[in-house]
Every structure is written in C-alpha cells, then in structure tokens.
Symmetry: C2
Subunit: 99 residues, 2 copies
C-alpha cells in the first residue's frame, strides 16, 4: 500500500493529467484546461480571489518557457507555492493559539 | 468535501508535522526526523538508493538556510523534485508505449 506521501504525490500527477488530456498537447495544460482545473480543484481559492484576470496572470507567471501552456514542472511550482501559503497561514494561526 | 488536489496539499502538510513534531523545534525536521519520514513514507525510494550518506546529502542539499533542520518550505522542494522525477519517468514510459 502506498504511504500518505506517495499517495499525495500520485494525486498531484493524476490531477494534472485529468485536465491536460482534454485538448491539444495531452502533456500540457492550456489556458482553458488550467481554468477548468482551478475551478474544479481549487474552488474556494478561486472564489476568494476577485481578480477576473487571475487565470491569465497565473498562466503568465508560471509559464517559464513562454509557450502559453503549463507543463507538469510548471504546475508543480503553482501547487508548491499554494501549499507553502496554506502552511504559513495555519502555522501562524497555531502560533497565535499557543500564546 | 475537499477536492483531490486539496486533499493532496493537505496530506503534504500533515506528513511533515507527523514527523517534525517528534523532537526539538516542532515546525522543523531535524536529521533524525527526516530519516524517519523517508524510511516510513518513501520506503521504496530509499531502498532503491545504495548510498549510506543519502539522508545527510538530502539534508545538506535542501537546508538552504544552513540551520541543520528542514522547514516546511525546504521540505516542499524535496517533494516537488521527487514528484517531477516520477512524472518524467512515467511520461517517458508512456511515450515509449505509444510508439
């Protein structure tokens, strides 16, 4: 049986291909596929953001090779940044409570 | 209910604190805690590596602020690198099969 960490790593890979396979290059997320992924997988995060250009901005920020698509490596940068931000938030809350 | 991606992000945070809380600074992994984490969570990866200095090398490589401990941000760099390596491997296998 895979460990909790192995399952999480596996899930990151599965989520990416669930959306990248929809159209065009199946190993990359285009803007529409990224939008679908964010809408379905990060609904609360997206709802908390009021910026209508958010998907465009995320794409521009992460698309390091400027091909207007995100490959898996670029996607992992997004997930890492969001996870670190979540952790910072929870750690801050926890430290406040502990005082 | 959290999405698959949210669950995976949550699992990364949980795994880290399951081990970082064992001794010393509970927000950081020391060398012993890192070794426990790798042994329990990435058994197959660790078994495939023959280098007895592996844990020391991982610690040195990731410990960007040189405090001899890994904080969550440094841990995410390890998980990202391993996930990208897994993905590269599977993508390569998949492309070979498709030929």
């Amino acid at each position: 049986m895979p460990s909790q960490l192995e399952s999480a790593m596996d899930a990151l890979i599965c989520v990416f291909y669930n959306y990248s396979g929809n159209e065009g290059d199946k190993y990359k997320l285009n803007k529409g596929e990224l939008k679908q992924l964010l809408n379905s997988e990060l609904t609360d995060f997206l709802m908390s953001q009021k910026d209508p250009m958010l998907v465009e901005k995320i794409m521009n920020d992460l698309d390091s090779n400027k091909d207007n698509e995100l490959d898996f490596n670029e996607f992992v940068v997004l997930v890492s940044a969001l996870t670190v931000a979540c952790n910072d938030f929870f750690q801050e809350q926890h430290k406040k409570k502990a005082k």
